[in-house]
């Protein structure tokens, strides 16, 4: 059954490592949904979080192929129940009048979205959280008229038990 999988990859911070991994996905026809990369807690080691869509067999093949890359140190699947997964979304919404502004304010409060910019015609805010949460917030904003959205893609860390 096809579903979304989140994979954490720790890699040597070498020039070209991002291309190497992204290229691998393209070459093996694996579908990347999101990809993020940043520094890890260790110097010289980066962490990439990739979400892919596929069945369990696809996932196994992806993991093995990534593991095979010399720059890869570790590949871990991050199932939802055992990892904190979050992304950041910045959203710019059209605002016609005060009533709409107030409506958006109240939604933002419920969803813990932070207002970071305001003009007479737009409201810009960001929110952090699980992708589902962000998507439901976006759906709520649709009727107001979304001008622009920027999303980071998810990052993740394992839970301690």
């Amino acid at each position: 059954m096809e579903k979304k999988h989140t994979i954490a990859i720790t890699v040597e911070d070498q020039p070209g490592v991002f291309t190497r991994i992204a290229g691998l996905f393209a070459r093996r026809s694996f579908n990347i949904d999101t990809i993020t990369v940043g520094k890890s807690e260790k110097q010289g080691i980066s962490k990439m979080i990739i979400t892919v869509i596929g069945d369990d067999r696809d996932l196994e093949r992806v993991e093995k192929q990534i593991n095979k890359l010399i720059d890869t140190i570790k590949v871990t699947e991050m199932p939802k129940k055992s990892a904190f997964i979050a992304e950041l979304c910045i959203i710019k919404v059209a605002v016609q009048d005060k009533k709409i502004r107030d409506d958006i304010f109240s939604y933002a409060k419920i969803y813990d979205a932070k207002i970071i910019g305001m003009t007479d015609k737009t409201l810009t805010m960001y929110l952090v959280g699980e992708s589902e949460n962000i998507e439901s917030y976006i759906r709520l904003m649709v009727p107001f008229g979304i001008n622009e959205i920027s999303r980071t893609g998810v990052t993740a860390i394992s839970k301690d038990w």
């Binding site: 890699v11 040597e12 070209g16 093949r61 192929q65 010399i70």
Partner: protein, 569 residues
């Protein structure tokens, strides 16, 4: 000591005596440094970098040590690409060194600047850019480690010229550690026991042995395992020679142009023991229906190969040698009695039928099979055979008997025409006291024909036997069978006289036009003191059969020989 000198010293420290390559502006420092070490290392100046890359492959595959090839920036380096890809597909350990413009010019589209690091990324095991002279030694050490350990493969190293020229101020490390590269060599014991139990329970087991048996130098251990179990052996093209093909249990090569008996055995097997094979489409035919009834034990050093194409019942990660040794050990403990199985008797009986069911030439023109027959009587077990790619290659694969590892070297995964000649010169330089014979086609031979110059200048005595049918024969065969003889772009014409080309290079040239001349002229060519090209004019439209239609079920193999496998078992 500058960067280039350090690089050369590091190559020498890894046992490299020969490199293959062509000079150019940015690699002058490298070849200059080699000049000072000419007692220990020598570059053979090829005529084209593709020749250098395939020669490095031939060297590596004959010797079991990494080959090194060198190209200058831009086209020099891109000419290496086909050879790097070939090495990647067939898991050959080569180090490809490419020149690069000086670091301050990178990104300016300087003369011959090319992103070789990017170009080669999908076709290397790993690659490096030398950015710091002080890290040259450690990088080269890492490259050798990566190319040779685990599943072998090509490593590309980009060498900006300023880094080669700069003084090195640190001492080379004694060893290097790569955190993300720890191949599993020793197999898991529980999996070995599971495999052993499955094998011993099997009624219709079969081996399929691939190139990894050869690259792990596991042929002796494999023969011991086969003798212990008395299970028939098939091989892939890359595995050819890992097991004596004259042995009664040897059924031959599997795949599109393999032996029917070998393919039909896969269909009927209940357990397939696959050692270091990729289950490529040329082996399995239609994947969904491949060996539907068999449980598969898949042994490979590369975990990513297991489960990539076929569903595996017992996966074992480990190198062929250690895994086979572990299997022998466990099987000896678990084995009760070695009974003669009905399966084996039938296979041996059908093998006899299969062997007799070969194409019968009409006697007028020379049939390719007749050349192979003569070669089978002329070549010794230790002689090294290389091939080009095409019908001649498949005739050699199908009919030529090989009994030792590293004596049949052919481009499999990438099917690189033009592979045979440069590969032969690489093999000959690697092991000068062995005879090296390149079986080639007229199309394939012309793709690296320029290396005759290298062969002459360096007195590399190899014999090339050209199966000359004036066609790109394999495609012609496909057009005949699948396109109703509409021959598009396959006719090479009859105007080329290869023997005269040989003479122009001051080499030996021979022409064979009659069956009756085959034996004597081929014998003389192989014995000759200087490299010889034998232009054998063969029947123009002979086909290599049997054949599996691409993507077809193994039982759909057609042409010659025994009928379908269904009624056998």
């Amino acid at each position: 000591m500058n960067g280039a000198e350090t690089l050369v010293k590091t190559l020498i420290a890894h046992g490299v005596k020969t490199t293959w390559g062509i000079t150019g502006g940015v690699v002058i420092p490298l070849f200059d440094a080699m000049l000072a070490e000419s007692d220990s290392i020598k570059n053979i100046l090829t005529r084209h970098e593709q020749g250098a890359a395939h020669a490095a492959e031939g060297y590596a595959r004959a010797l079991g040590q990494p080959g090194v090839c060198i190209g200058t920036s831009g086209p020099g380096a891109t000419n290496l690409v086909t050879g790097i890809m070939d090495a990647h597909m067939d898991s050959v350990p080569i180090i490809a060194l490419g020149g690069q413009v000086a670091t301050h010019l990178i990104g300016t589209d300087a003369f011959q600047e090319t992103d070789m690091y990017g170009i080669t990324m999908p076709i290397v095991k790993h690659s490096f850019v030398l950015r710091d002279s002080n890290k040259i030694a450690s990088t080269i050490m890492k490259a050798f480690k990566i190319a040779t350990e685990g599943r072998p493969g090509p490593v590309y190293i980009d060498m900006p010229v300023d880094v080669l020229k700069k003084e090195v101020t640190t001492i080379s490390p004694k060893e290097v550690y790569i955190e993300g590269f720890q191949p599993t060599i020793i197999p898991n014991h529980r999996q070995i026991v599971r495999a052993a139990e499955l094998i011993l329970r099997a009624e219709r087991p079969i081996f399929i042995a691939g190139g990894g048996v050869i690259s792990a130098n596991a042929s002796n251990e494999f023969a011991e395992l086969v003798t212990l179990l008395h299970i028939p052996v098939t091989t892939t093209l890359q595995g050819k020679g890992c097991f004596d093909e004259r042995h009664p249990l040897a059924l031959g090569v599997v795949g599109m142009h393999g032996k029917k008996i070998a393919n039909f055995a896969q269909i009927n097997a209940d357990v397939i023991i696959a050692i270091s094979v990729r289950f490529s489409d040329r082996i399995t035919g239609n994947l969904a229906s491949y060996a539907e009834h068999a449980k598969i034990i898949h042994i490979d050093i590369d975990p990513a190969e297991i489960g990539k194409n076929v569903k595996v019942d017992v996966p074992i990660v480990g190198d062929a040698k250690n895994t086979i040794i572990a299997l022998i050990h466990t099987i000896k403990k678990l084995m009760k009695k070695n009974e003669k199985s009905a399966w084996l008797e039938k296979l041996v009986q059908f093998k006899g039928v299969c062997d007799k069911c070969i194409p019968t030439p009409d006697g007028k023109a020379i049939h390719p099979k007749q050349i192979i027959d003569v070669l089978n009587s002329l070549i010794k077990d230790e002689d090294i055979i290389t091939t080009g790619v095409g019908q001649h290659q498949m005739f050699a694969m199908h009919f030529l008997k090989r009994s030792r590892p590293r004596t049949f070297i052919s481009s499999g995964g990438s099917g690189t025409m033009g592979f045979g000649l440069p590969c032969a010169m690489g093999a000959k330089i690697a092991i000068p006291n062995k005879r090296v014979i390149n079986i080639d086609g007229d199309g394939s031979f012309q793709m690296n024909i320029q290396e005759l110059g290298t062969i002459k200048e360096n007195n590399i005595n190899v014999t090339s036997i050209i199966f000359n049918n004036s066609y790109l024969g394999m495609v012609r065969q496909w057009l005949e069978i699948f396109y109703g003889k509409r021959y598009a772009q396959v006719n090479l014409g009859k105007n080329i006289q290869f023997a005269k080309i040989a003479e122009a290079y001051n080499l030996n040239g021979e022409v064979i036009e009659r069956v009756s001349e085959l034996k004597e002229k081929l014998a003389n060519a192989i014995k000759s003191d200087i490299a010889t090209i034998v232009d054998v004019h063969i029947e123009e439209e002979s086909n290599i059969l049997p054949m599996l239609p691409p993507g077809g079920h193994l039982k759909q193999m057609f042409g010659t020989c025994i009928k379908g496998p269904d009624q056998w078992f």
